[in-house]
Symmetry: D3
Subunit: 290 residues, 6 copies
């Protein structure tokens, strides 16, 4: 059995991020006391071979996290991947097969499935958005509206779904949003302060909510303008106003119903918070096999 | 301004759970480098007063986590709650007001909103299920299909939505599920092993997928039987077969469309994985106010 | 050399619990600076083969924790178990043999022995209680009076001694003790509140300190009644009053002198705090062997 | 009410050590789920005033850890100390009074009592040894046979009992024990290696098990000689042989029955592993008061 | 006494970063055992008022970390800042005054001074470089050659010295260095791969070691070119070749002797690894005052 | 290729210390997001073989930490040591060779080099001091002025440079410094308090700043006297005054220019804070090799 070829090329997640997430989930589920049911119902000698199977079609993500969960539960569990992150799967497809001591496999089952279900959910929803804008210039990305504690994993899942990673952390780039503008006293004031303090070397994104604000912002040569909740009509005007001088990103109220029209206005990027804050989990289960 | 009265009575979450979650989220969002935008755009002396406001109606949960996030960012931020956990809110209602140094408020904004959005989402979805079974005997509960790292918070959100907490951890009670039965060699074998090893003192739940399995299970006097993916018809038969000897729980494939009919079969509890694995976030924002 | 057969069947402790305990102990003993003595006195090339030996007879527990301590100190240390958890040992019996770089073996020695000594102590004391109630219906269990930080390990040691695990965590089951009754305003008030809020699905234990309180408690169909510091005479009356309707647990002031008489009153379970809060360590040492 | 005056003068434990221990205990007891009983049985508005009271006489230790446990559970709990660490208490004496929200007080009760019970147990046993050697030159100290994770607290409890702290960590001083001697190839070899590598600046203790070994060891001017399991007779000879050139410490098999005779041989220090590895907990409880 | 005005405007470091660093240092210095000297030599009632004073002139950084160290040691220590981060100080100037229980002040002394000494050292060295390029267009920045565990603090110290923060983390921006070029198979291959995979939205820096490589790199419109170890002559040619199309950064072998000449070539930024990897600590001490 | 023989014999650092430091550095450098450059520029299949090479001559330290960093990044990276800790290296010598997936090698590069650069810097500076006092009786040691978080590693580097470890932690030995003397009310008061409370068993060091203070201190038979900032002349007098009764340590203002003269006064030990607080990093790089 050889693993499938993913639909997208994906970097590997750092091992220390995967392991920390896996460990935290196992500790949360097993707590101090372990899995009383397996211990009582199943002999320590019993082995279990089982498949992680989809119940619905989708795009795979999170397989390496599941592998880490099983490895932490018992280093003797064998984990064979059939559909690595980035693969498309149909209902009842096998993502991976685990084989090991039944008690350990079942102790890890829920934690592993919770990761896979959630991350496949993000990848699958992302894929839908990516397909919806097919053959336009627009790329789909996420936002910082991620699940607390899972940001790196969810970013990875967005890439597995064909999205591009959200571009900058809080650390070094500048993302001027509505509340920054309010606190600074206007777009002009915010951008002047940024240019004075941070100089010309820093990547600057600025969120605008009108064509007027956009016009002001463009005077400061931002790297990206985010059009927040623009009408389709204004979005088109904004794209023409920018005229290629910087990246244009649309955000706010994007749905599968509206995303194609947004893409067709000519924006470069569409950021979709729902990819991480509202993706339903993909239904996956662990089925004993012979 | 006095806070509203919640629709449900709720225990307080343990402070150490809230603080750990808040800390992890802030560290994830701010990383080692902090919030470059606020630092560049806003003077350290500027203060910001802002309201956490809903964009859609829903049930509130997670306010204490948001409070903890702001307190960690700067202990001088004042946080006034208007709608505590368990309250119903309309669109544009204010959940809480924060007031403090603008740089710190904005550094914490996203982490705080991510918690509130997600936990209100769980509470709001739970409320829908609870209302759907109104005036039946059935109670709504969640499952262990929670977000890794957030189980305690999501359980709390289920209670804020009117659900009852899922009853047992893995630690000490026995929950015999399909894979345990498979690994043990059948319901009979699993229950005999449990009774032999764990004695009569332990709370035992057993999941069955047919009336035949149910009949076998009942011989061992379980405390709860979980009817997994039963038809409505079989569910009714199961309730009658049990005849009050133990709690009957329905699980598997429950949706808002089907939950009322399930409740009307007479089951005691309906467990809904979607409450935590697929609840869309409630849309909330932070609006600067005067 | 093949390992002995334990006197009791025991589930394996979760690897993450063992490793965390082992790591904390090593860090505490070695601190930032390591073991200056071994480094100064012993050449890095010297190997040491040594036996973990009892000085007194007892019941074994904690072997897997000791193994983890040595593995953390140096992954090249070989650890062969002769008497796994649950075995009875005489004085001067070998529990396990370690073989590896002398510096690492000696750096880990004290931490490993501290675990084994304490956990064998708990198992050995538990065995004494279990033997004292031999051929009665009573089972011996522990309480939450465990060593802070070692609860899971001490619970495991109780099982190694032939006891049954204490049944419920604080999380989900209800254990109404004297102070809850005081704070709620009486047994009646406490049980009514519990039944109103938690419903009939929750496992409820209630501690009573008189036959009158017991009579009140029984009206609420608890799953377990704990007879706290009852006289033998009242205990017998309580067992007859309960009449099999729920589990009867005796607790408070149980000693090896009194436990048999308590068991003979017919109670189902006897919980003994001393198993964990006052068990003397079993004397074990590490002896260099050829 | 003013606090009593301790029988011994004691340094304050570092806040970060206390807090870490308190946090770990609370997390272990409450886990992710909190205290279901208090939440179900007791109204959030109910307050509880309760006394931590002894059931048996003893020496107090651990009060500051208990205070930290209650503070972590709810910062609004008031904690008034009546008998600080180092005080002697009779049965039914009050050590401290707590006053706060009943749910939080009861959530913290068991963790706080577990610390106090154990640490008072260590202090009380130490006091017995100290009293047994009264009016001799010998001082009582502990060993590294402490409870994993609690070393700093147990060392403190030994001091509260009138003992002296065990003198050196593993880090920098040299303590040559039997296995070091075995691994190095004899006392001579071990001490020569130490003198060659560590020079004359390092504090050196060496454990000897015979007068012959003692004679060898003295050639290397150790700071301390540990007489391991010497007969009383040999101990006296050893004291005379040393003749004040270094500290003489007796260890191994010390009990309350033998400690006085050991002290009267003239040794300077007697180290007693049982102070920490086998001290029974002092029985303490939390009693609601008006 | 009012605090001085800093020479540079500085953002506040995030509280959670400061506290984590302070806690780790205290734990490292005090370990499990605390400060035996203060406990033995000083009465718990003694208070100490002392000044953190420079022995040499310099630029201040790290005051808030020192404050956090003292606060962790004892929350009753008062800490008054005279010269906040960013101030210039002469020898024997007072940076801050602490006042509190002598035992706690002295327990925290070394950890606090270690932070201040090191961070003032970084700020002071940075100031020298900044002054050396005065009245040129060049700005001074650091590199990722920071002390493991202290990056955020050292970045802050560079800013306190008048430098600009190093611009991007590893996370999202692209910094192509010599080894990436080697592994990718040349500058062309590396930049083509980056452009294909990461698109035009990502900020790209590329390090070049010759004018030829620079010419290749410019074809891909990087945001920054790093001239690695260029001669002054080639640096000038590079600036002219770039002609303002992107930021030009000089790095490699920069010293106080050479930095002015480098700045005069017209580069925009000079990155100096020595700011963090080789800055001597500023000599600061804690002097008891009346 | 066989590894070189170190110039000094060195104990191995504890694995748990190395791993914790390596993990913290990697997490700091990679954060949640990983290394965007390698992922974009380099194919996952590309392997890289590269040498850690010096740019300047020096003494090696930190190789095992670098190994741990690479192992954490990818357990498949091969790490071959050519010049282990304690070796002398010339410019362009190879310390170690790494071979593995290019993406992982480059993700770990900076963290590994930061450790090696800093620790080699400490070892190299120590070597200079050790050579400067060659053929005197004086030994070189460090102080507690270490980098926060790196004390154990820096102590190890001092030993790699030929220094002796600083002798005692804060935990158990007594080091009376100027501020203790101030807070206690003089040398006499401090030493009397120490002798009264800590007895004759404790190792006592006392810092004196004049011959008069020295004379007072010697009455209390300290184990070590630290001559703080004595003139060479007074140092010689102090050595004669002590007359071999205890160890004499010189500290304060020691430099490479003055250390030989200090050694020739006859002091036993010279402690040099600069070894850790001001050692410039050794310049090391990672060079791709064929």
């Amino acid at each position: 059995m050889s693993a499938r070829i993913p639909a997208v090329e994906l970097p590997t997640l750092n091992a220390h991020i995967i392991e920390a997430a896996a460990r935290r989930a196992l500790e949360e589920d097993l707590g101090e006391l372990g899995d009383a049911t397996s211990e009582a119902a199943i002999s320590p000698e019993t082995r279990l071979r089982a498949a992680i199977r989809t119940r619905k079609p989708g795009r795979v993500a999170g397989v390496d996290v599941a592998r880490a969960v099983f490895a932490l539960a018992d280093e003797d569990i064998i984990f064979e991947v059939e559909a690595p992150d980035g693969c498309d799967v149909a209902a009842l497809d096998t993502i991976a097969v685990v084989d090991g001591p039944a008690i350990a496999v079942l102790a890890a089952e829920r934690s592993a499935l919770n990761f896979i279900g959630r991350l496949c959910g993000v990848a699958t929803l992302t894929r839908s958005y990516v397909e919806a804008v097919d053959a336009t210039m627009a790329r789909i990305t996420g936002t910082r509206k991620t699940t607390p504690g899972l940001r790196a994993l969810e970013r990875h899942a967005i890439r597995a779904g064909g999205g591009v990673p959200h571009r900058f952390g809080l650390g070094d780039a500048i993302l001027i949003k509505d509340n920054h503008i309010a606190a600074a006293g206007g777009v002009d004031a915010a951008l002047m302060a940024v240019r004075a303090r941070a100089g010309h070397m820093v990547h600057v994104s600025v969120e605008v909510d009108s064509l007027d604000q956009l016009a002001v912002a463009l005077r400061y040569s931002p790297d990206v303008v985010l059009l927040d909740n623009f009408s389709l009509d204004d979005m088109g005007k904004a794209v023409r106003l920018v005229g290629g001088r910087c990246t244009v990103e649309a955000s706010g109220g994007v749905s599968l119903d509206t995303v194609r029209a947004i893409a067709e206005t000519g924006v470069d990027v569409i950021s979709v918070g729902a990819l991480t804050h509202s993706a339903p989990a993909l239904d996956v289960g662990l089925d004993a096999i012979d």
